[in-house]
C-alpha cells in the first residue's frame, strides 16, 4: 500500500514549530519564576483565607475540582491515544497538536447537546444521579495525599473514609437506573451496583491488610512509613498477591474491562447511563475517570510509596506513579475480553474473597509471630 501525501505546507509547519517552542519556553519561564514572585505581600490574604474555615474549604474544594477536571482532560486524551497506539493506529490527531484539544472539543459538544429527560422518568432522581456519583468520586480526593502538605484534609481515618465514600457512588448508579424509566437501564444499574458492592469486599480486606501492617488508617502516615522501602517491597509475599487482588477490584470498581458489562456497547442492555445525554452524561464520564485516578492513587499510596522518591518534587512522583498505574489499567482494558455477569460474580465471591480472607489471616499471623 503506497501513500501519496499532499505537499507539506512548509510555512504552516514552521509556524507550528515556532509556536510550540514559544509555548514551552513561556511555560518553563513561568514555572521557574513562580518561587521568585513576592508571595510575602500576599501574606494577609493567605492568612485570612487560611484561617477562615468556610472560605478555606471553598478554595480547597475549587482546587480539587480543578485538579480533577484537568486530569480528566488529560486522561481521556491519553486513553484514546494509548488505545490507538496499541491498535496500530494513531488516535485523535486533528484537534490541537496531536489531538490534545480533542477532549475539550468533546466536552463542548456535550455541552451543546439537547437535554433529554424521558417522558415518565422520575425527574428528581434522574437529575440527581450523575451528581451523586460525581460527588462521591470527588469526595475521595479529600483524603488522597499528593504530598505531605498537598492533601485536602489530613484525616487520621483516611483509608476508612475513602472506602466508605466511594461506595456512595453505587447509590447514584441505582438512582440513574431507576430514574430513567427504562427496564434495561434498571437491569444495567442493578448489575452495576451488584458488581460494585461485591468487589468492595476483597478490596476492603486487602486495604485492611495494609492498614494492619502499617498500624494506622491515616494515608499520610502510611506513606511516611514507606520512606525507606515501598510497602510492596517490604512485605512482598503478602502484598504482591494483595496488590493483584486490589488491582482486579479496582478495575471492577471503575467498570473497566474485563469487568465493563454494565457499560458495554455491544451487549444487549446498554447500561444505566443509556438515557443520559449531553452534560449529564459528561458528569458520569468525568466521575468515572476521577474514580479511575483515585483508585490508582490509592494503590500508589498503599503499595508503592505514595510521594516518596528522590530528586523530583513529591507531587511529581505521586503523579508519575499514578499515571503508570493508570496506563497499566488501560493496557489491561484493551487486551482482555469481557466477563459475563455470572462469571464476574463467581470470580469475586469464589476466588477473590477467599484469597483476600486468606491474605488477611496471613497478615495477622505475620504480625503476631
Amino acid at each position: 500500500m503506497s501513500i501519496q501525501t499532499t505537499a507539506p505546507n512548509r510555512a504552516s509547519q514552521a509556524g507550528q514549530w515556532a509556536a510550540g517552542i514559544l509555548i514551552t519556553v513561556l511555560l518553563v519561564a513561568i514555572v521557574s519564576a513562580l518561587p521568585l514572585l513576592p508571595w510575602q505581600k500576599l501574606e494577609p490574604v493567605t492568612r485570612f483565607f487560611g484561617e477562615h474555615p468556610l472560605l478555606n474549604a471553598l478554595i480547597k474544594a475549587v482546587l480539587v475540582a480543578t485538579v480533577i477536571a484537568l486530569q480528566c482532560l488529560f486522561l481521556i486524551w491519553l486513553e484514546r491515544k494509548f488505545a490507538g497506539w496499541m491498535q496500530a493506529r494513531l488516535g485523535p490527531m486533528h484537534v490541537g497538536w496531536k489531538g490534545t484539544l480533542q477532549t475539550l472539543a468533546d466536552a463542548l459538544k456535550l455541552l451543546t447537546k439537547e437535554d433529554v429527560i424521558p417522558a415518565q422518568a422520575d425527574r428528581a432522581l434522574f437529575a440527581l444521579a450523575p451528581y451523586l456519583v460525581f460527588v462521591a468520586s470527588m469526595l475521595t480526593f479529600m483524603v488522597l495525599p499528593f504530598s505531605l502538605t498537598w492533601v485536602g484534609y489530613d484525616y487520621n481515618l483516611g483509608a476508612l473514609f475513602a472506602l466508605s465514600i466511594s461506595t456512595v457512588g453505587a447509590l447514584g448508579i441505582l438512582a440513574a437506573g431507576w430514574g430513567a424509566n427504562n427496564k434495561y437501564s434498571l437491569l444495567g444499574g442493578v448489575r452495576a451496583v451488584a458488581q460494585l458492592l461485591s468487589y468492595e469486599i476483597p478490596m476492603i480486606l486487602v486495604v485492611l491488610s495494609v492498614v494492619t501492617l502499617a498500624d494506622t488508617l491515616s494515608l499520610t502516615r502510611i506513606v511516611q512509613q514507606q520512606a525507606g522501602l515501598w510497602n510492596i517491597a517490604a512485605y512482598p509475599l503478602l502484598l504482591i498477591p494483595g496488590f493483584l487482588i486490589y488491582f482486579a477490584c479496582a478495575l471492577a470498581e471503575v467498570n473497566r474491562a474485563p469487568f465493563d458489562l454494565p457499560e458495554a456497547e455491544s451487549e444487549l442492555v446498554s447500561g444505566f447511563h443509556t438515557e443520559y445525554s449531553g452534560m449529564r452524561f459528561a458528569i458520569f464520564f468525568l466521575a468515572e475517570f476521577a474514580n479511575n485516578f483515585f483508585t490508582a492513587g490509592f494503590a500508589v499510596v498503599l503499595f508503592f510509596g505514595g510521594w516518596q522518591g528522590p530528586i523530583l518534587p513529591p507531587v511529581v512522583w505521586f503523579t508519575i506513579k499514578t499515571l503508570l498505574l493508570i496506563i497499566l489499567m488501560m493496557w489491561v482494558r484493551w487486551t482482555l475480553p469481557r466477563l459475563r455477569i455470572d462469571q464476574m460474580m463467581g470470580f469475586c465471591w469464589k476466588l477473590l474473597v477467599p484469597l483476600a480472607l486468606a491474605l488477611f489471616c496471613a497478615t495477622a499471623v505475620y504480625l503476631v509471630r
Binding site: 490507538g84 491498535q87 493506529r89 490527531m93 493496557w331 487486551t335
Partner: protein, 203 residues
C-alpha cells in the same frame, strides 16, 4: 483432524489462565512499541490506488484523430445491468460519435462490464473515487465531465465528427451529382418491325 481440549486441574487452570493474560498483554505491548501505525490521515494523505482501480469513468481522446474514440455503438449501454449509460449519437458507422454521453452514477455498480464490452477502447475507469455529493443530480456525469480533455475536447470532437460526417455527406453528394450529370436515359424509337409495330396503338 478432530481435536478435543485437554482437561486441566483447577490450580493448573488458574495459573495457566493468569499466564494467558500476561501473554496477551505482551502481544499488545509489542504492537504498542514495535509495530508501525497504519493510519493514513485522510485528507492530508491519500492511499495510492492500483492501476486497475475501478473509479470514475473517463472517455479517452485520440490526439491524432482529434476526436474521442467513442463511435456511439451503444455496446456499453446494452452491457450495463442497471441502465447507467445513455447517449446521443452523432452520425453512424466508423466516423460516427456521440454528442452527449450521460452516466447516472447513482445507479452504477462499478462492475466494469461496460469497459469490457467496448471494442474501441473508448471508455475506461480511472482512479478518482471521491464522488460523494450533496445533490443527487451531481452524480449524473455528462460528456464534458467524462471526456479526457473536458469541454474543449468535446467541442473538438463534435467539430471533427461533424466535419468528417459532412465530408462523407459531401462525398456522397458529389457522387450523386456525378451520377446526375449523366444525361437522362432517353428511350430510342422502337424498331420498324411488324412485332414492334403491333404494340403501337392505332393512329
Amino acid at each position: 483432524m478432530t481435536t478435543t481440549r485437554p482437561k486441566q486441574s483447577a490450580v493448573r487452570d488458574f495459573f495457566s489462565g493468569f499466564a494467558s493474560f500476561f501473554r496477551g498483554m505482551g502481544v499488545t505491548a509489542v504492537n504498542l512499541v514495535a509495530r508501525r501505525k497504519i493510519t493514513v490521515q485522510y485528507p492530508y494523505e491519500r492511499v495510492k490506488v492500483s492501476p486497475r482501480y475501478r473509479g470514475l469513468f473517463y472517455l479517452p481522446y485520440d490526439e491524432e484523430a482529434k476526436r474521442l474514440k467513442c463511435t456511439g455503438c451503444t455496446l456499453c449501454e446494452q452491457a450495463c445491468p442497471t441502465n447507467v449509460i445513455s447517449m446521443e449519437k452523432l452520425g453512424a458507422g466508423k466516423h460516427g460519435g456521440v454528442s452527449e454521453f450521460t452516466m447516472d452514477l447513482g445507479r452504477c455498480m462499478f462492475c466494469n462490464l461496460c469497459i469490457e464490452a467496448c471494442p474501441f477502447e473508448a471508455i475506461y475507469m480511472g482512479p478518482a473515487y471521491e464522488l460523494a455529493s450533496y445533490d443527487r443530480n451531481a452524480s449524473v456525469f455528462r460528456i464534458t465531465d467524462l471526456a479526457q480533455g473536458g469541454a474543449a475536447a468535446v467541442e473538438t470532437n463534435i467539430r471533427t465528427i461533424t466535419d468528417a460526417l459532412a465530408e462523407e455527406a459531401a462525398a456522397k453528394a458529389a457522387k450523386a451529382a456525378l451520377a446526375a450529370e449523366k444525361p437522362a436515359r432517353q428511350r430510342p424509337a422502337s424498331p420498324e418491325t411488324a412485332i414492334a409495330k403491333a404494340g403501337e396503338t392505332p393512329a
